[in-house]
């Protein structure tokens, strides 16, 4: 081969581009081709994602379950500190394995509904396995989206006899999932007011205390839009269940006033507990189980459901549509509705159990126990945080179920308050 100038230029091509004279491919060309192919890829990717599914049909569920078999393994994604644990063992899961022969891989993979949904959404929309067969999500925007997008399996209730027999009436057929088509509750909880009696004189009963200028800079509110929206509406005497856009706007004004007056220290996620214990805040919106655990550990904190109202929410077990072991997941859903199992879970988790029969079991156990053990079991069996009274229950409201269009309006009102 002769070394013509043309060849030299080509040799130089990538490293020392010097214009295009005679050279078949220059660095610029190479990069341009790369850029174009990337652009083509990008354009091809335009306008995909997301597909709303039709209303659930019983025949679809039967079709799904017809060819599914027990595999003997289960991958369970749950929230931190949300199951009984002794050292590194999970007694409830071990009992499950003993009773059913199903081995469980248990991960505390979920910290927060929105992040969790953000993580699994691309995989589910592509029909890929998310690595779990059973997961726990709170009723709210993300669970609503998962249902609307057809990401969840319709449950076969013929395999859930314990749920049918033992779940409390108020935990069945919730508004966010009629007939428990896709979900059954794991635990419930309340959002009320927690305060530190060291700094706050007298009993707090009203939600107005969160707007009290006396506590300027010492009030903690929650970051979640649904949580604060309900509290704003309670303050105004509006029932969130029946609220419309005008009500949200009024609540938004109240919450904005509270913020502008410097009363709100911060809009917290789970970190409000530390702030409350440390004294950075004196009074705040809080989740019942968190405060129950702090009190059980000896902290002097109080929790109340305000007279005007409080929130009740449910964390729900559900099966993603790409689950590899759905029959095993269904077995777990039913297993935890045995009263003894539910009681074990309730004793550790200290939120609200969906199995009312556990109260009698805990009481009976308290009668047999002695000393500190007896005291803590008695405290639990009589605690309105774990077994809310009918009076409290009447004051509690769920998050409002929103359509996609409403959701935009709703977030448009409340997010600017928490994220100014």
């Amino acid at each position: 081969m002769t070394n013509t100038p043309r060849d030299l230029a080509f040799l130089r091509g990538l490293t020392q581009s010097r214009g295009r004279t005679g050279s078949p491919i220059t660095r610029r060309d190479a990069l341009r081709v790369a850029g174009l192919s990337a652009a083509a890829l990008g354009l091809a990717a335009c306008g995909v994602q997301g597909k709303k599914v039709a209303a659930p049909q019983a025949s679809a569920a039967a079709g799904y379950w017809a060819d599914k078999k027990k595999t003997g393994t289960l991958r369970f994604a749950n929230w931190p500190l949300y199951i009984d644990k002794e050292g590194k063992k999970y007694p409830t899961l071990e009992k499950f394995t003993k009773d059913t022969g199903i081995k469980v891989t248990y991960q505390e993979a979920i910290q927060d509904n929105s992040t969790w949904f953000g993580k699994i959404q691309p995989q589910l929309s592509a029909g890929q396995d998310i690595g779990y067969d059973l997961m726990v999500m709170t009723n709210g925007i993300q669970l609503g989206r998962a249902i609307a997008l057809g990401y969840l399996v319709q449950l076969d209730h013929s395999k859930l006899p314990n749920f049918a027999a033992n779940a409390g009436a108020r935990y069945k057929n919730p508004t966010f999932d009629p007939n428990n088509t896709y979900t059954v509750p794991w635990q419930s909880g309340l959002t009320g007011i927690a305060y530190n009696p060291k700094y706050i004189d007298g009993d707090v009963t009203s939600i107005k205390e969160l707007w009290n200028p006396k506590y300027k800079g010492k009030v903690g509110m929650l970051l979640d839009s649904q949580e604060i929206a309900n509290f704003g509406m309670f303050l105004l005497g509006i029932d969130p269940d029946k609220s419309v856009q005008a009500d949200w706007e009024k609540a938004g004004v109240k919450l904005q006033e509270q913020r502008d007056a410097g009363i709100v220290r911060k809009y917290y996620e789970n970190d409000y507990v530390d702030a409350l214990v440390r004294g950075d805040i004196w009074i705040c919106m809080a989740w019942s189980g968190d405060i129950y655990q702090q009190v059980a550990e000896g902290q002097d904190l109080k929790f109340v459901v305000p007279d005007e109202g409080g929130n009740i929410w449910t964390d729900n077990m559900c099966i993603p549509k790409t689950a590899q072991n759905p029959v095993d997941a269904l077995a777990m859903m039913d297993f935890v509705y045995q009263p003894e199992v539910a009681a074990t879970l309730a004793k550790y988790i200290t939120y609200i159990t969906p199995v009312p029969a556990t109260q009698a079991l805990v009481k009976a156990e308290a009668d047999k126990a002695s000393g500190d053990e007896k005291k803590s079991l008695e405290l639990m069996a009589s605690s309105p945080l774990i077994y809310p009274s009918e009076a409290d229950m009447a004051k509690l409201r769920s998050y409002k179920t929103l359509t996609s269009a409403e959701e935009k309006v709703f977030e448009g009102i409340f997010q600017p308050i928490t994220q100014g």
């Binding site: 790369a34 990337a38 306008g47 997301g50 953000g118 977030e411």
Partner: protein, 284 residues
């Protein structure tokens, strides 16, 4: 023939890496940023450029605030890092590497954990503020957490090593004989610093600014852990748009706007500092 394609083969791994993990996502994001819709009903490409103007109008405050925090944090890190780097480079002696290790030591602990531990240090009735309150040096209602001071402080603390290291490298390259020569020419210590050492170390400062200002401005961890309602940064907004609202177009438009603003800012800055020289020196 092999020699001819060799250069292309050499660029292949790095080039592919860039294309797959930078160019493709960027193009994808650009495409998403002009789509309309929501996550349930799907997003459709409509070349809806209003996403950009909407984002700018709605979150103007957070954009400006982030730039302000980034700037304040960067200036603070320069003020803190320069003396440290100077001391290590010129007075560090045989222990230089130990001191550098000390500078890097915080990186062995997770970023989030370090920031969270600030909450304990700075608690209203915590180990720092309680004694000050007892002594009456600060009023009882005084607090640091959930203020601008806490957020800028957290940013400065977290990114300090990124400023120390490049300045150190630049100073380390300064030939001591040049400084000696300046003394031989009857320079004062001050002149010797401002006219010799400082200009020679500017490329390090420049590199440090790139490595701190850019991540500081888009940071969201410090604002969410140490900040209050009025300290929300643009990074927090982008996170909310992506993860909470699943409004990918709005998030993408915000990210692009942020990226463009920072690129322009950096180019202006590079121009002002005499561009080529500085960039070349920094790359040396």
């Amino acid at each position: 023939m092999r020699r001819k394609i060799a250069p292309y083969l050499l660029i292949l791994p790095g080039g592919l890496w860039l294309v797959i993990f930078l160019v493709v996502p960027l193009v994808f994001m650009a495409s998403v940023s002009t789509q309309e819709g929501d996550v349930v009903n799907g997003f459709v490409q409509t070349f809806h450029l209003a996403n950009f103007t909407d984002a700018l109008v709605e979150y103007k405050t957070q954009f400006l605030r982030s730039a302000g925090y980034g700037l304040a944090g960067t200036l603070l890190t320069i003020a803190l890092a320069y003396p440290v780097a100077y001391w290590i480079a010129f007075k560090g002696g045989a222990r230089k590497s130990t001191y550098l290790l000390l500078v890097l030591l915080p990186f062995f602990v997770s970023f989030v954990l370090r920031t969270v531990s600030w909450k304990f240090l700075l608690a209203d009735d915590g180990i720092l503020l309680q004694p000050l309150k007892d002594l009456g040096l600060v009023p009882a209602g005084f607090h640091v957490l959930q203020t601008t001071v806490a957020v800028v402080g957290g940013l400065t603390y977290n990114y300090l090593p990124f400023m120390i290291l490049p300045i150190y490298v630049a100073l380390e390259r300064v030939d001591p004989r040049v400084v000696e020569a300046s003394y031989d020419l009857y320079s004062t210590a001050r002149d010797s610093f401002t006219k010799i050492v400082l200009p020679l170390s500017l490329p390090g400062v420049f590199a440090g600014v790139l490595m701190t200002f850019v991540p500081m401005t888009s940071d969201y961890v410090n604002a969410s852990i140490l900040g209050g309602p009025s300290n929300t940064m643009i990074g927090n907004i982008i996170q909310t748009e992506y993860l909470v609202n699943n409004d990918y177009p709005a998030g993408a438009a915000l990210s692009f706007t942020l990226m463009a603003a920072m690129l322009i800012g950096i180019f202006v800055y590079a121009k002002a500092l005499g561009t080529e020289n500085v960039l070349e020196a920094a790359a040396r």
